[in-house]
Amino acid sequence: MNTHRGLVWFLAPSLLVLLAMLVYPLGYALYLSLFDFYLPSNAPKFIGVGNYLALLGEARFWSAVYNTFVIVMASVALEFCLGLALAVGLYKLRFGAHGLMVVLFVPHIITPVVAALFLRWIFVGQWGLIDATFWPLGIFTPDWLGDPIWAKVTVVLADAWKATPFMMLVLYAGLQSLDQSLIEAATVDGANGRQLLFRVVLPLMRPIILFVVSIRIMDAFRFFDTIYVLTGGGPGTATETLTLYTYSVGFSRLEVGKASALGVVTLLIVLGLISAFVSFIYRRERGRF
């Protein structure tokens, strides 16, 4: 017992780092969110939940919430499907899987802003790579960044291009850790490929799916650099997400209190969403999780 108590001290460095890097900034953001704080004035005024009430009454806030949900859900769903397909493909490969995986992983290791600029040169109208390739052939592509719907689609595709390799890597690792005897037993019992995937493999991979999708949802809620470079949140408010709105309030208007409130609200939304997702994945065995 004494030995165990002594081991608790080994947690201290990690706890200190967590306190310094996570709890303090979070607490400070919560604190700031209760003030009307215009940065140049350097004179915060306590207004309680005033910033939160103001946000809830703003159409722009709700529009940002809607856009965030649409973009996050579409991106994560697309990334999961593509990532799973690639992971299964790699899993079935008899040789070259590791080399191919490294190649497929490249988009994920490119610096986000560089990747976003790269994507902008691809999608930008007239002289972008896509338009410059297809227009001389008489094929007129959609207005990727200028049409409200296509702008959303482009942003989703851009995120999928960047994040699918991560999804693929984690799911591939999950596939490799499966108990082969269960798959063999299902095969012996006559399960076809589809049944094997949906009735055996995916249920067995629920913890890893929960992990990777949760990580991606959290990450996608912070999705900023690519949208900022590609569309700047436009046209209109078509791709203005919560992070872009927070950026606008915090960095363009320098309203630090309100920007902090937006950060806290975003955190609460993500927490709610992840809880709902956990509940959905383990809906049949809620007591077990």
């Binding site: 990727w144 200028g146 700047g232 408010t237």
Partner: protein, 412 residues
């Protein structure tokens, strides 16, 4: 164990002593740091500043305009000495000076007047850099927007530079095709969109504000002005809502744009055959109605800089001397009278006559330090109107209400 501990303690003590002495050493050798917007003439001046005074290099960071303003605002609002020398234009200068973030330089100006021939700067240029009667920056160049057009296409169709907006609209329609935008419009928020809207609001509306900073841009003439902008976007390049100056310059250089508002500082690049497919084919004029944006670029000294202010002023005055202004005259309109009025330069650079006329016809942003913050609301609502998310009148009314609320919070 005891010996080890003592040795470790001694080592730690020695390390700590060395570490404590480091800041003093570092301070003595710390190079000056500067932050500037990135465009051809400012890139030149950044280099000139870096090497202006031998033995006193300046580490200049160059980033796009809106990012530079954000970074400057963040560091200055925190009282940080991260940057000593700051690129400023008249609008930023008002905001920074109002907040006490810049050093007045009247005393330095007087001290070095003769050495750097500072009387060469016209009073009107220096007035752009005064706030509450104090001078805050050394001007590098006068920049402004004017009308870019494809002379060869105009000649082929018998067009002349438009004198009314309706003429511009007809020309844009006449030259528009899938491979060629009749008009290059830049509506990326906030900077580019506010520049573009500034022209429409002043040339065809009553301007942005009435007495006591009451928004008037949502009156009938303001609505009609933005309706005009909206009508032109039918012939604009794709994704104009996310287009800014860099994209516009490429569109013109690649022969994909026929007309549009763009900066003097981008005109020289049109005739660079290495980068431009339309060298010699672009011409310039004052846009219909004038009142497009003009601005004075220059450099100021941060209030929080701990470096020698005399040295910093000497660096700036050297970097913006007559030979340097002459050397970059292709990409910027000089701020010194001796260079500005040089007949040789007027002959050498095709865009000079139009640029000088545009300076006469142009209009600066309102003298409101918070104007760019107001622009966050204004440009969003105008974008929404252009994207069809709301009507122009509704968009401008919404922006006017938001701007009124913002200014009331700021004490207006």
């Amino acid at each position: 164990m005891n010996r080890m501990s003592r040795r470790t303690a001694l080592g730690a003590l020695a390390g700590a002593s060395a570490a404590l002495s480091l800041p003093h050493v570092a301070r003595a050798n710390t190079p000056l740091k500067g932050l500037s917007h990135r465009q051809p003439s400012l890139e030149f001046y950044a280099k000139a500043i870096s090497s202006a005074v031998p033995g006193s290099p300046v580490d200049m960071t160059l980033i796009p305009a809106d990012k530079a303003v954000e970074l400057q605002t963040l560091t200055l609002s925190q009282g940080s000495d991260a940057y000593d020398i700051l690129w400023v234009n008249d609008t930023q200068l008002m905001k920074y000076a109002k907040n006490g973030w810049l050093q007045p330089i009247d005393d330095l100006w007087a001290r070095y007047r003769a050495e750097f021939k500072l009387d060469d700067y016209p009073a009107s240029v220096l007035d752009s850099y005064r706030y509450d009667g104090k001078l805050y920056a050394v001007p590098s160049s006068v920049n402004g927007m004017f009308y870019f057009y494809r002379q060869d296409l105009f000649d082929a169709k018998g067009y002349k530079p438009p004198s009314t907006f309706d003429e511009w609209l007809k020309i844009a329609e006449g030259l528009h095709s899938p491979a060629m935008s009749g008009a290059v419009v830049n509506m990326k928020r906030i900077d580019a969109a506010l520049n573009e809207a500034h022209y429409y609001m002043n040339a065809f509306g009553d301007g942005w504000f009435g007495a006591k900073w009451k928004p008037i841009f949502n009156n009938d003439k303001g609505v009609a002005a933005i309706e005009r902008l909206k009508s032109l976007t039918k012939f604009a390049q794709r994704a104009y809502a996310s287009s800014a100056n860099d994209e516009a310059m490429i569109a013109f250089q690649q022969g994909l744009g026929a007309t549009g508002l763009q900066w003097f500082s981008r005109a020289g690049a049109m005739d660079d055959a290495q980068k431009s497919r339309v060298a010699g084919k672009i011409a310039w004029a004052v846009p219909p109605g004038g009142k497009q944006r003009i601005v004075v670029d220059g450099f100021a000294i941060s209030k929080f800089s701990k470096q020698d202010r005399d040295l910093q002023f000497r660096i700036l005055a050297t970097a913006m001397n007559e030979p340097n202004q002459r050397a970059i005259a292709s990409d910027s309109i000089p701020s010194r009278a001796s260079v500005l009025n040089d007949a040789e330069l007027h002959k050498k650079f095709r865009h000079y006559p139009a640029a000088l006329s545009a300076i006469q016809a142009g209009k600066a942003y309102p003298a409101l330090p918070e104007f760019v913050e107001c622009g966050d609301f204004i440009t969003l609502r105008i974008q929404q109107a252009l994207a069809g998310e709301m009507g122009v009148k509704q968009a401008l009314d919404t922006a006017a209400r938001e701007v009124s609320e913002l200014l009331a919070k700021r004490g207006y």
